[in-house]
Amino acid sequence: MSEYRPTIGVEVHAQLKTETKLFCGCPVAFGEEANTNVCAICLGLPGVLPSLNKKAVELAIKAGLALNCEIHTKSIFARKNYFYPDLPKGYQITQYRFPIATDGKILVEGKEIRIKRVHLEEESAKSIHETDKSLIDYNRSGVPLIEIVTEPDIDSPDMAVAYLKTLQKILQFESISDAVMARAEFRCEPNISVSKEEGKLGTRTEVKNLNSFKAVKNSLSSEIKRQIGILEAGEVVEQATIHYSEETGKTWVARSKEKSSDYRYFPEPDLPPLNVDKKWIEEIKATLGELPGRKKEKYISLGLSKEDAKIISSSSAASSLFEEILKLVNEPLEVSKWILRDYRSLGGPDISAASFAEMIEMVLSGEISRNAGAEVLAEMTRTKKAPKQIVKEKNLAQISDSNALEKIVREVLDENPDESTRLKKGEKKLIGFFVGQVMKKTKGKADPKEVSRIISEYEKKY
């Protein structure tokens, strides 16, 4: 069996992160009451015409750029004609011969996967089948999608999953798509063939309706076995659409290709060719963030540990906050600690980089203690108040005035006569005890270094 080599390509449909649908002003929302986000256009009533959503075009271009594609200044919408109750116009507006982006590539675990094309298209409605009737929810009708198609560069189910995870991360990181699989915002349709001969491809089948990465992996493994089984039995694999059952872990032929429809593609006459100017493409390019991998490397070079760099770079919110703060407080290690510990333990709140930086500055200058800083951060998250105001209101300013501190130290020594006697006799480990007592008395506001210095001097005096 091992001499058979699988060849896999993947088609992904990703929902673009827009406020409104691709060709009308209806909101894009998940989980709303059926048929509430609809209008004459997305219901395909007689007389309507599509108007293209510019944001969707921008995100499609962004996707093309993030996948290192060539962006075409002219692309053309086409109609894909077929009858289905969830397709209100009897055709889907998509791009066929002239997609918006082609010829890209991404690195997945060190291997280059070529991206054949990225194109824009509209979503169909959702059919809900009940025993005696079928219902249709048109809320999804007209939601903007991009279809991303790879060349058959993937050679194992694991690699297919790795590609999908990388792609998902890119789309999420660049705010192109939320790409939540459970909401059908990221749908995978792998195609697969097996062959013994190098350079020769077998007949491929397409696997549909996969709802998780696990299903992608298992269905491909099952399909490889099924195809090898057919070939070993001396038969031929037929081009077909394959379905997969998560319960049995098996694939089966749902529709053979001979029955497949002729979609009669032709240019959409209601939309002129989509012309995008180079300047706009450059503007979109400038909004591209650095991808997680590249970010991680950069953070390591700033002195962060591998582990810390990975954690910060893998979250776009954390990494952009980190970088924004660094512009104001150029102390990568200090800033990373705040992000890794306090910011994350607060659940990654929405917080302004400027306020965050102001708080860190106050800690670094000794104005407030580290503990007070943590309290300020928590309070900032709750109230959105400025750090300075919080420090004032909660009286968190650090006591570093040595006269004031000396007075408190004397008080503490008097309150603990036994320990102070032992300290005077040279029991140095009691310094820590007294520092603790001072901190307790000042509710954490005393500068611990200063306290420690004063107590040590006392110890030396005797």
Binding site: L45, S51, I136, F266, P269, D270
Partner: protein, 470 residues
């Protein structure tokens, strides 16, 4: 025969009232002509109550029943749209309402605009007001018959291959198909989207110009509408003596001798005004009808796919989804529409698309290029509007090829997206026939001004009086 500005003048003087005009128009609705599918008297009266000072104040307008008016059934003369009431108005309707126009009714057509005679309607044929044994032309036959018989002052139609101009010719009226993109298509039920334009049928060029001024201009709801500024179409009095008008020889072959001499008479009159003519040639003219058929049928097969009985209109329940769709469409469409959907589906199929649709698209580009080249030599083209006057009802219903014959004169302007106007050239027996002026893109003002020039020289009221006098 009064123009819209004359009506406005009479309203101002108080000599007639908008209500009086509407009542008069309603009285002139002749049921035996079958010009209307729906008469919207209530809507018209409601429109009169609005205090409007627009250019069309109080003017009763008939609207082809493939243009949506919110709350009024749109049938497209098809059973498949049974019970469908649009929840929105076409952009042109909104613009007319803003200008005070009132809607008297929705007019009959060939189902979805597919025909040249208004005989292929689920609601029965419309008759020619000049001779009720003859067709009024089509597919905007109802809109032409309504204006010709005096029940509407002006009407809207749609023109995919000549559907406004050919009925205007058969009914002795002025019919304008604007440049593709000049008028928003939003709310017009699509037939051949790359060819369709909403057009105007009126009694004279002045009225048509005023209506164009109201409905023309960019509409963000129609991505194919043009952002080009509109002209002042209500002033049609200037025609430069320096213009040159071309006579394309191909358009004068195989036509009725009466049509030939009438159009030549128009040429002679224009020449008398000091305007020169030039013989030109458009060799691709012979390809116009087949090219038009392939493209319009292909687009129609896709545009009409939405009538599946799932969301609105006629539904015939079947065994399955697809069976329901099949049964609903079978019961909903008349044979001609089915024929065009079938041919259109075929020409887009993977085995035929290169031979038919793609080739037609290529020839369309050649036809357009040829017009562009001719328009470097001349500014306008003068042609007959139709090869013959109106033909008898029933004569061509079984012969789709002969039915398409009149399109030969008109469909070229649709394929090339050019503006074209048809106006009365004379009578053959008791039937009017028209001439056509084709212009360069967006020169609606120019072509209407030539029509105005001809009107001023010889008012055609004489022979049209009988049917159109109020």
């Amino acid at each position: 025969m009064k123009t819209i500005p004359e009506y406005q003048e009479l309203f101002k003087k108080g000599e007639i009232t908008p209500t009086g005009l509407l009542t008069n128009c309603l009285k002139k609705i002749n049921p035996s002509l079958n010009a209307y599918i729906t008469v919207t008297e209530e809507l018209a009266r409601k429109g009169l109550k609005k205090d409007s000072k627009g250019k069309l104040r109080g003017i009763p307008i008939a609207v082809k029943d493939n243009i949506n008016i919110k709350g009024v059934p749109t049938t497209c003369a098809s059973n498949v749209l049974k019970g469908f009431i649009p929840p929105f108005s076409a952009t042109v309707i909104e613009r007319i309402e803003k200008n005070g126009g009132i809607f008297i009714g929705k007019t009959n057509l060939d189902e979805f605009g597919m025909g040249s005679s208004t005989e292929r309607s689920y609601y029965g044929p419309t008759k020619n007001p000049f001779d009720e044994t003859k067709v009024p032309g089509g597919s905007s036959g109802g809109s032409a018959a309504a204006v010709s018989s005096g029940s509407a002052v002006i009407s809207l139609g749609s023109d995919t291959g000549g559907s406004v101009r050919q009925p205007a010719s058969y009914c002795g009226l002025v019919g304008l198909k604007p440049t593709y993109g000049r008028v928003s298509r939003y709310g017009l039920v699509a037939f051949g989207s790359s060819l369709d334009q909403i057009g105007i049928i009126g009694r004279n060029s002045v009225d048509v110009g005023i209506m164009l001024e109201v409905i023309a201009g960019y509409d963000p709801k129609d991505s194919t509408s043009s952002k080009k500024e509109i002209d002042d179409y209500s002033d049609l009095n200037e025609v430069s003596k320096n213009i040159k008008i071309g006579i394309p020889e191909e358009y004068f072959k195989h036509i009725d001798p009466g049509v030939h001499s009438s159009v030549m008479e128009i040429k002679r009159r224009i020449e008398k005004e000091g305007i020169s003519f030039k013989s030109v040639s458009l060799p691709t003219t012979g390809y116009i009808i087949p090219t038009y058929q392939v493209i319009s049928y292909a687009e129609a097969s896709s545009n009409l796919a939405r009538y599946d009985g799932v969301r609105y209109g006629l539904r015939k329940n079947g065994e399955s989804f697809h069976d329901t769709i099949r049964k609903s469409r079978d019961a909903g469409f008349l044979p001609e529409v089915k024929r065009r959907i079938l041919v259109g589906t075929f020409v887009l199929s993977s085995e035929a698309i290169a031979e038919y649709y793609e080739r037609a698209d290529l020839i369309r580009r050649l036809i357009t290029q040829e017009f562009n080249e001719v328009f470097r030599e001349v500014d306008y083209l003068l042609t007959p509007a139709t090869p013959t006057p109106a033909f008898p009802i029933g004569e061509r219903t079984d012969d789709p090829i002969r039915m398409h014959v009149p399109d030969r004169m008109t469909a070229g302007a649709n394929l090339a997206g050019l503006p074209a106007v048809v106006a009365p050239a004379g009578m053959i027996g008791n039937l009017p026939i028209g001439y056509q002026i084709i212009g360069k893109p967006f020169d609606e003002k120019g072509i209407l001004s030539i029509v105005r020039l001809v009107e001023k020289m010889a008012p055609f009221e004489g022979f049209l009086k009988e049917v159109r006098d109020e």
